[in-house]
């Protein structure tokens, strides 16, 4: 009785191991499906989804105009103090003072890509870009100015 049980147990154990090895053997001989990507070499064909959060950028059109009014909604929405907005006063031709954006400072090193600033923006002036390669040798390079030099607010954006 003891011998039969013992042999049964050993047989069951060998069978269970063989079952697992069969699966391993299957994958060893059927390696058609390539799962891994060779990252630095596939940069050319690497396409990230449009919603991927890489960094915050400001949208500029062909006339070098943006839609940022300098309302600081994004600055208030940001949980980490990533965004700092410096405003100035534009004098319109009629002689009226109007608040406008001077500098949009973005600290990439503090950003957690939570998308809160983009949600908060009333004029849809900023968006998330798909660039994710942010390594630099100097931390100061991560503090960015998002509005391009010489750019101004698009006509009609309030």
């Amino acid at each position: 009785m003891f011998i039969t049980n013992y042999i049964k147990e050993v047989w069951g154990a060998v069978k269970s191991l063989a079952k697992g090895m069969k699966l391993t053997g299957y994958y060893f001989t059927h390696h058609k499906e390539i799962i891994t990507q060779e990252y630095p070499d596939n940069r050319a064909e690497l396409v990230l989804p449009e919603r991927f959060r890489g960094e915050v950028v400001m949208k500029h059109d062909e006339h070098n105009e943006h839609a940022c009014t300098g309302c600081t909604a994004c600055e208030l929405a940001c949980p980490n103090g990533t965004i700092k907005i410096i405003t100035k006063f534009d004098i319109s031709p009629e002689g009226k003072k109007k608040k406008a954006l001077d500098t949009f400072i973005y600290h990439l090193e503090l950003c957690t890509m939570c998308n809160m600033c983009i949600e908060a923006c009333p004029t849809d002036a900023i968006k998330m870009a798909q660039n994710f390669e942010h390594s630099v040798y100097d931390r100061r390079q991560l503090t960015k100015k998002l509005n391009r030099p010489g750019s101004k607010i698009r006509e009609g954006v309030e």
Binding site: A13, S16, K19, K22, I35, P49, R53, A77, P79, M116
Partner: protein, 371 residues
């Protein structure tokens, strides 16, 4: 404090397991007292990844604070965000649109599958099998792709916000979830073939790390750890939230109470989550994905508590509001902390080699314990 290494007065050996032991996922420091090879006592030393999230939340507004909770239990970040969003909604008395509720439950279940898969791979790796890790990550990558497309992130999502979800689902979402369900059904059978039936694995798990139902209750363990000892603890059944009431699914219960029972609970939960996804993927109602909320959220004076079932157990969010835009106090009841507290009870008296099996089946995520 115990001495760092050496023997104590009774001639027992005191060793440090961690913080850098490869078998511990995260930085957990266990001071293990040994008599020969038998464990006498285990003392977990916490705090290596403490970021004082609860205190940080006090200075953030009700919209902002939930992004930090993605970094608590990073493997179920959607579910953490969900708990925060629901707690704030409770205070604001906002009705979430049905479309948002279904999307929330779907991403929750996808997160649960992803979390259990990572646990399965890491668990098998703890016990010396390396290939399961790759098998698990191959399927987990599909979920990550779905998340990346819809939520924009792969780990720290911040997709579920007070009032609904941040953005509508991607047009490909339903198609991809469907193909994932189809693929995953066959892969779970492969997992069972590869690991569950393996004799070495079974011998290392069965009868190891046993805990009784009474002890589970007195230590406050929840989730698969409690259900493996036969304690009803599924928040989705006991305190249904969102649309879980209307869904057909079973609470997985095992009565073994040992490491193998905890393993089986999670493996069966994978199938159950797939079953929930199947019911929802074709039935996402049309409509708004976010309720209209004010730009600045202010909770009325009072206390609010909301619990959800994460992949690890019950997560409770407790907010004390003074009527301002930021919470006065936030407390998170994390499942990992309570489950870890039972480790001394589970593993003491066993062998040192079995400690890894007991610890692996507790599914500890250290940032969730330390916060």
């Amino acid at each position: 404090m115990v001495e760092e290494i050496g023997t104590n007065e009774e001639g027992e050996l005191v060793i440090n397991m961690g913080p850098q032991h490869p078998a511990t996922h995260g930085v957990l420091h266990l001071v293990v007292t040994l008599q020969g090879e038998t464990i006498k006592k285990i003392e977990p030393h916490l705090g290596y990844i403490h970021r004082s999230i609860e205190k940080m939340c006090e200075s953030l507004t009700y919209r902002q604070f939930s992004y930090v909770t993605s970094r608590m239990d990073y493997l179920s970040s959607h579910i953490n965000n969900h708990a925060c969003a629901m707690c704030v909604e409770k205070g604001l008395q906002v009705e979430v649109p049905p479309r948002a509720q279904v999307i929330r439950v779907m991403v929750d279940e996808l997160t649960r599958i992803a979390s259990h898969e990572l646990w399965w791979g890491a668990m098998a790796m703890d016990l010396g099998a390396f290939t399961p890790f790759f098998h698990a990550f191959r399927e987990r990558e599909n979920i990550n792709d779905i998340m990346e497309e819809t939520c924009g992130a792969r780990l720290t999502m911040n997709y579920i916000v007070p009032g609904g979800v941040m953005a509508d689902i991607h047009p490909n979402f339903q198609k991809r979830v469907k193909s994932f369900i189809e693929l995953f059904r066959s892969k779970i059978d492969e997992y069972d073939e590869l690991v569950t039936g393996n004799i070495i694995f079974q011998n290392r798990m069965k009868g190891v790390g046993w805990i009784s139902a009474e002890d589970v209750v007195s230590y406050g363990c929840t989730g698969p750890v409690a259900r493996a000892s036969g304690v009803h603890s599924d928040i989705r059944k006991l305190f249904p939230y969102e649309i879980y009431e209307k869904l057909q699914f079973n609470e997985i219960l095992e009565t073994g109470g040992d490491s193998f029972a905890r393993y089986m609970v999670r493996m069966r939960e994978l199938r159950e989550s797939v079953h929930i996804l199947e019911q929802l993927v074709d039935n996402i109602p049309e409509g708004e994905f976010q309720a209209k909320t004010k730009a600045v959220l202010k909770l009325p004076k009072g206390e609010f508590y909301q619990r959800v079932e994460t992949a690890r157990g019950e997560l409770g969010v407790y907010i004390v509001s003074e009527g301002a835009t930021t919470p006065y106090r936030i407390k998170f009841r994390s499942p990992g902390f309570a489950n870890l507290s039972a480790l001394d009870h589970i593993a003491a008296g066993g062998k040192l080699g079995d400690l890894v099996a007991s610890m692996g089946t507790l599914d500890l995520v250290i940032p969730d314990i330390d916060r």
